[in-house]
Every structure is written in structure tokens, then in C-alpha cells.
């Protein structure tokens, strides 16, 4: 077949699912394209026909909009087809429908494995914040060394007191770090025991809040309630706040290329 050789056309791929029933998703694609499925064995790829060039733009708003549409198609496809393996934005396969079937055929084992891994599971984000000042104060109250230094500060001169205060700061910093590590491990273990897959993400620095941990989790639908309850317990601890977000399609757990 010479189709693929002279193809200046492509297929924009949104996601892959295990479904042979549905063929049409709707006219909801980027640039109002018709979104439908192409199958190989028991897998299907959700696509729209496009030209063989990536969607690029200097306009940030336009790109944001495309990504929104991309995510929306994946959401709707999930509703119609069941669990999907979502692809990142702007993945285009060169050629026509046959090229897509070939791709599904080539990656059949890997895609089937991933689909099995994510079946009936959704991605959630767990971010735990703490009030460093509050926790610091608590540590200071209970720390004998600091309490002793505080007493001494009252007895010495201004200049000398500076160094005493600096010592307190240093002790607090060390103890805070120790606490942070303890809590991290404690909360990590709790979350890990209530999800199927867990990933540690980079801490984001947010104004006025101190993030202790940032996790992405893949959770089976039967476990979501329990996870929520455990996170609520942590949220109730004085000085700690939990941000539980989702569900999303399992973007972080598919490693698709």
C-alpha cells in the first residue's frame, strides 16, 4: 500500500481504549474535527483527521484552549469507552487509518498491559500543607534546650542575645526538618496503603503556604472512599491541610511516547 508513503495527512491521537462497540465520539475535536475510533483487535485509538503538522501557536491562549479541548475529548471518550490510556497533547501519527492500526498492532502488548494497569482506576493528586510557624512554635515550647536559652536571653546584653536567638533559629530549623521528614514518611505510608500506584512529585512553592508533599496516585474506584477518609483524618490534625484533587485520566501513570 502506497497510502502511507505519499501521506501528507495524519491522525491526531487522543487516547487508546479497549472497546469495539463505539465508533464515533463526536464533533468535539480540536478545530471542531470529527472524533472517531480506529481499531486493531480489541483496542481502539480515538482520533481525528488532520494535516501532518503539529498544532503550534505563539498565542498562549490558543494553546491553552487546544489542551482544554484535548482533555475534554479524553474525558468524553472515557465516559463512552471506559478506561483509557490518555496521550499527551499534539501526538500525530503520519498516514491514514491504516497507519494507526499498524501503530496499535506494533504496541499491542504494551498498550494492553497499560490498559490492564489502569483499568477502573483514576488519577488523584494529594498535596499536604503545613503551617510552619505553628509547628515551629509547638516545637519550641516542648524543646528544653530552647526554653533554657530563652531564659538565658533575659539575663544577657543585647548583642550577646543576638547569638542566643540565632542559636534558637538554628535548632528550630533542624528540628523542623526532622519533623518534616517524619511526617512525610508517616503520611506517605498512609497514602501508599490506600492506593494502587503512587508517585512523588516536586514540591510546589505556593504563596503563604508551605507544601510538605506532592503526590500523584492511581486509585481503584473501590479504594477512593477509604483514601478520602484517611486524608480527612490528616486534614483534621492541627497545623495540617490536605488538598485532594481529581479524578483525572491516568496521565502520570502511562508513560506513553
Amino acid at each position: 500500500m502506497n497510502q502511507n508513503k505519499k501521506a501528507k495527512e495524519g491522525r491526531y491521537v487522543y487516547c487508546v481504549a479497549k472497546n469495539l462497540q463505539i465508533t464515533r465520539i463526536g464533533k468535539i475535536g480540536i478545530e471542531n474535527n470529527d472524533v472517531y475510533t480506529i481499531t486493531y483487535k480489541d483496542l481502539c485509538a480515538v482520533v481525528h483527521n488532520c494535516q501532518l503538522k503539529a498544532y503550534v501557536s505563539k498565542n498562549e491562549e490558543e494553546i491553552k484552549n487546544w489542551i482544554k479541548i484535548h482533555q475534554n475529548v479524553i474525558d468524553i471518550a472515557s465516559e463512552k469507552l471506559g478506561t483509557v490510556v490518555p496521550l499527551t497533547f499534539d501526538i500525530i501519527i503520519k498516514g491514514s487509518n491504516e497507519a494507526v492500526s499498524d501503530w496499535l498492532k506494533k504496541d499491542y502488548d504494551r498498550l494492553t498491559r497499560i490498559l490492564k494497569k489502569v483499568k477502573d482506576k483514576q488519577e488523584f493528586g494529594v498535596q499536604i500543607f503545613w503551617n510552619e510557624n505553628k509547628i515551629s512554635d509547638k516545637i519550641a515550647e516542648k524543646n528544653q534546650k530552647i526554653q533554657n536559652i530563652k531564659k538565658d536571653i533575659k539575663k544577657v546584653s543585647e548583642g550577646e542575645a543576638y547569638f542566643y536567638k540565632d542559636t534558637i533559629k538554628t535548632i528550630l530549623k533542624k528540628e523542623l526538618e526532622k519533623k518534616a521528614n517524619e511526617h512525610f514518611k508517616q503520611f506517605y505510608d498512609i497514602v501508599k496503603n490506600n492506593v494502587d500506584y503512587i508517585r512523588v512529585d516536586k514540591i510546589k512553592k505556593e504563596k503563604g503556604k508551605q507544601m510538605l508533599m506532592n503526590l500523584s496516585c492511581l486509585v481503584h474506584k473501590n479504594k477512593i472512599k477509604n483514601l478520602g477518609m484517611e486524608l480527612e483524618k490528616i486534614n483534621k490534625i492541627d497545623g495540617f491541610t490536605v488538598k485532594f484533587t481529581g479524578p483525572w485520566p491516568p496521565y502520570s501513570f502511562v508513560n506513553s511516547n
Binding site: 546584653s157 543585647e158 548583642g159 550577646e160 542575645a161 543576638y162 547569638f163 540565632d166 542559636t167 501508599k192 492506593v195 494502587d196 500506584y197 503512587i198 508517585r199 512523588v200 512529585d201 512553592k205 504563596k207 501513570f253 508513560n255
Partner: protein, 107 residues
Amino acid sequence: MINIDEKNLKHGILGLVIALVEVITDALKLQATKRVKSGRLTKEEIERLGKALAELDKAIEDIKKEQGITEAVQGVRDNLDDLADDVINKIIDPKKLEEQIEPKQKS
């Protein structure tokens, strides 16, 4: 598109400068504390040193408040920390970074 106007530029540069001043001040404090702990300083010297450092701290805080750059400075320092982290990670093991995905085997 980055909108560079005079005010933004001044803000950014000041943030950078004060962040640098803070880093140097931290080094100063460390040295001063060592000297104090060494026991080689007289009471008057300790007093002078402590007072001078306290004034330095206050001066920096005042500048940050007056110029409204407290967050800018924190931002620069956070970026420096991240940079240091990145370098250390690369030295430790580039592959280790990929092992952040930890599958829990379902029984």
C-alpha cells in the same frame, strides 16, 4: 511576551541584589557565631558583633518592606535552592530520578 518596563526591571534587579546580600550575611553570621563560640572574643567584642548583625538584619528587612520586594527575594533564594538541588541530583545519579514511579504490587 515579557513586558519589561522600568519598574519591573528595578524590582527584579533589587530582588537579586538583596538576595545576594542575604546569602553573604548568612555567611557572615556563620563566621561570627564560630568566633563567639571559640571563646576568643571579649564580652565587648561579642556585644559589638551581635548589635552590628542585628542592625544589618533590620536594615535588610526595612529595605525589603520599603521596596516591596520581600517575595521577589524569597523567589530568588528558592530558585537558588532548586538549582543546587538539581546539580546535586545530577551528580548523585541521573537514573535515580526516574525511579520515582513506585508500583505497589497488588496481591
